[in-house]
């Protein structure tokens, strides 16, 4: 097993570009597609034309200024309108005592987010005012805030399929999705080394040697595992320590990644069972693999795909289970018990696919 492993390593050592490219690709894809709502900062020009403009502006700015990606900047009316017209800012906000107006020239999604936020702040304030009667809302707000710190009762909102609705982090999902997706290519190309050895005749040489067949397979598959796992770890470490993403309990992420790699190696082995030459594999595999994240819903909010057939197909592949488990760890602080099921499912897929795959490879002579 060890020499087989080593020979694969020697081959790749001279040409590490593919792995480096894949690592770069995982990170780049996540940053480009996953960071859209992080990078896109909206600036809102805020002004008031009321007689007590200054007072109003101060009051609302203070209340509004709690959004991550919206920045409220004070200016006068003409300036604000000019900015909107020139496209410098998407939207201007005219403040009144208890009301507001949005001035915009576009239909950008950013405007919608601003509208939602402003409305939320005004409605909340209106409720507080109503509750406080004529009193100042300031004391009441403080009271409410204190109360919310230690509520006697907590209500957790869940969507129908059990996921948390609020604050779903698509960026994080894409991070895991892309990383595992790209790793699937690495896995496939490495597992394909077995077919390449068979076609070149090297496999026959090994069969005639004292090395057992099991060891030949393990040598190849263990190498594939190491390369793909290494690739994923590098990507995750870069995200965690260099780009500052909160990936949650890292030991759990590592465990899920390992289970995913094992499982996906088996799936690649199974696909190997259907092809005769490494060239065929290079044609089949890259056209098959990109479909998996699509039907697994990696590019979409959870719950978007409701077709039971697609869901079933997605469940056959380890990707959906891997991403789901990682999301649970990163977003919802899942414990070991929570990720046990997806890990078990991935390993089950692995055992089945490997069994069938090796059988098919061995049967065809």
């Amino acid at each position: 097993m060890y020499p087989v492993f080593l020979a694969q390593w020697m081959k790749d050592k001279r040409r590490p570009y593919l792995i480096l490219l894949f690592i770069g690709l995982s990170i780049l894809a996540t940053i480009i597609f996953g960071d859209i709502d992080r990078i896109e900062q909206s600036t809102v020009s805020v002004y008031s034309t009321e007689p007590n403009a200054e007072e109003i502006e101060q009051k609302w700015i203070e209340l509004l200024d709690n959004h991550d990606s919206i920045e409220y900047v004070l200016m006068d009316k003409e300036e604000a309108h000019a900015e909107v017209l020139e496209g410098e800012s998407d939207v201007a906000l005219q403040l009144m005592e208890n009301d507001y107006r949005l001035i915009t020239a576009t239909e950008m999604p950013g405007v919608f987010i601003v509208e939602q936020h402003v409305q939320q702040v005004f409605t909340e304030e209106a409720k507080l005012v109503a509750a406080a009667g004529t009193n100042s809302t300031l004391d009441l707000r403080k009271e409410v805030a204190e109360y919310l710190e230690s509520p006697p009762l907590k209500v957790q909102t869940e969507s129908i399929d059990g996921g948390d609705i609020a604050n779903y982090d698509m960026g994080m999902q894409l991070l895991f999705g892309f990383t595992l997706f790209v790793a699937m290519f690495t896995i496939g190309f490495k597992v394909n080394g077995i077919t390449a050895d068979k076609v070149s005749g090297i496999w026959n040489r090994l069969i005639l040697s004292p090395v057992s067949k099991t060891n030949m397979y393990i040598g190849h598959l263990f190498y594939s595992f190491c390369v793909a796992f290494f690739q994923m770890m590098i990507v995750f470490l870069i995200f965690k320590y260099i780009l500052g993403y909160e990936l949650g309990n890292f030991a759990m992420i590592v465990t899920i990644a390992a289970a995913f790699t094992l499982s996906m190696i088996s799936v690649a082995m199974l696909i190997t069972g259907f092809v005769k030459t490494p060239e065929q594999f290079y044609m089949v595999y890259p056209s098959l693999i990109p479909i998996i994240p699509v039907i697994s819903g990696v590019y979409m909010q959870p719950g978007t795909i409701t077709n039971p057939v697609l869901q079933f197909i997605a469940d056959i592949f380890p990707l959906s289970h891997g991403v789901e488990a990682m999301m649970d760890v990163a977003l919802y602080n899942a414990g070991w018990n929570d990720i046990l099921l997806p890990i078990a499912l991935m390993l089950l897929i692995g055992v089945l696919a490997m069994g069938i795959g090796i059988n098919m490879v061995e049967r065809r002579k």
Partner: protein, 310 residues
């Protein structure tokens, strides 16, 4: 020490190897000749335990190797028809890999690698990647890889196809040396009669999955003792002449060659005067003619109706 008994292999409908009986004595050098698709590689695969026969047996020292192939694998070195090497690795790295796979002892491996590199004449190129090698050099590494564990029996499947004469000579020399100096038993597969003539004590000729003839060179040549071969050089090509010669009673076969035609006739039939007459009739001169000793090539042609190389 090694024999096959009614060895057969059928792929789906096709009989690739059909009841072959062969034997190899210790220290012998035996040739296996046959045109493309004759079943040579299939036979070798079965002998070397890579392929299960449909029927028949392979015996090493009297014991069947089919149920338990570990014994034959230990004494066998196989040089496959294809280049079974990692092109991305150097010659040295390839040999180191196969040496480890064959469990050559660590302290011995380095010495063995250098020995086999010396044998195939690539010692000074060992650090270079195999993919940068010429076809002939690749073939030499391919052979070297089968020698690392000092096999008692070496099977080579067309080790000289498509390579330069220099590499070819080197390979022939190496195989000859292995056989004569270390007493290695050789089974050498080839399309080339002259290689087999040069290397082997005995020859098996295969066609359509069957052994059509076997024996030493002189035994094979005696098959042709009933034929004369006449090489004729003509002033120009003539189809009618060819036809009229073919029609003669004593003539068995006529072939066109580069210089003219070759006529194979019944021994002692004295058709020379008939030939001259026929040529005169169509106004063609015979520039030169020669009675030829039959070669193994002719034996092959006689048996299979094919020349070896097409």
């Amino acid at each position: 020490m090694l024999e096959t008994i009614k060895l057969s292999k059928t792929f789906k409908e096709k009989k690739a190897v059909d009841e072959i009986d062969m034997y190899l004595d210790e220290g012998e050098s035996v040739g296996l000749l046959g045109p493309n698709g004759a079943g040579k590689s299939t036979t070798i695969s079965m002998i070397s335990s890579l392929l299960k026969p449909t029927s028949g047996d392979v015996k090493l020292n009297g014991k069947s190797t089919i149920k338990n192939p570990s014994e034959i694998r230990k004494v066998l070195g196989v040089v496959p028809q294809e280049i079974a090497l990692y092109e991305e690795l150097s010659a040295y790295e390839n040999l180191k890999f196969f040496g480890k796979i064959y469990k050559v002892k660590k302290e011995l491996l380095e010495i063995r690698i250098q020995e086999v590199l010396e044998m195939v004449g690539l010692k000074d190129r060992q650090k270079e990647l195999v993919k940068t090698f010429s076809g002939g050099m690749k073939r030499r590494v391919n052979i070297a890889a089968a020698l690392l564990h000092k096999p008692k029996i070496l099977i080579l499947d067309e080790p000289t196809v498509g390579i330069d004469p220099q590499s070819r000579n080197h390979i022939l020399e190496t195989v000859k040396k292995l056989n004569e100096e270390t007493g290695m038993t050789i089974l050498y597969t080839s399309h080339y009669m002259e290689e087999v003539e040069q290397l082997c004590n005995r020859v098996y000729i295969m066609d359509h999955g069957r052994v059509v003839a076997s024996g030493s060179k002189s035994e094979l040549l005696s098959i042709l003792s009933t034929e004369d071969t006449i090489q004729i050089q003509l002033s120009k090509k003539s189809y009618p002449l060819l036809e009229s010669i073919k029609g003669m009673e004593a003539v068995r076969r006529v072939e066109e060659t580069n210089e003219g035609i070759r006529v194979i006739s019944k021994k002692g039939s004295n058709i020379l005067s008939d030939l001259v007459h026929a040529a005169e009739k169509v106004d063609i001169q015979i520039i030169h003619f020669q009675m030829e000793d039959p070669s193994l090539e002719d034996v092959f042609l006689h048996l299979t109706g094919k020349t070896l190389r097409d």
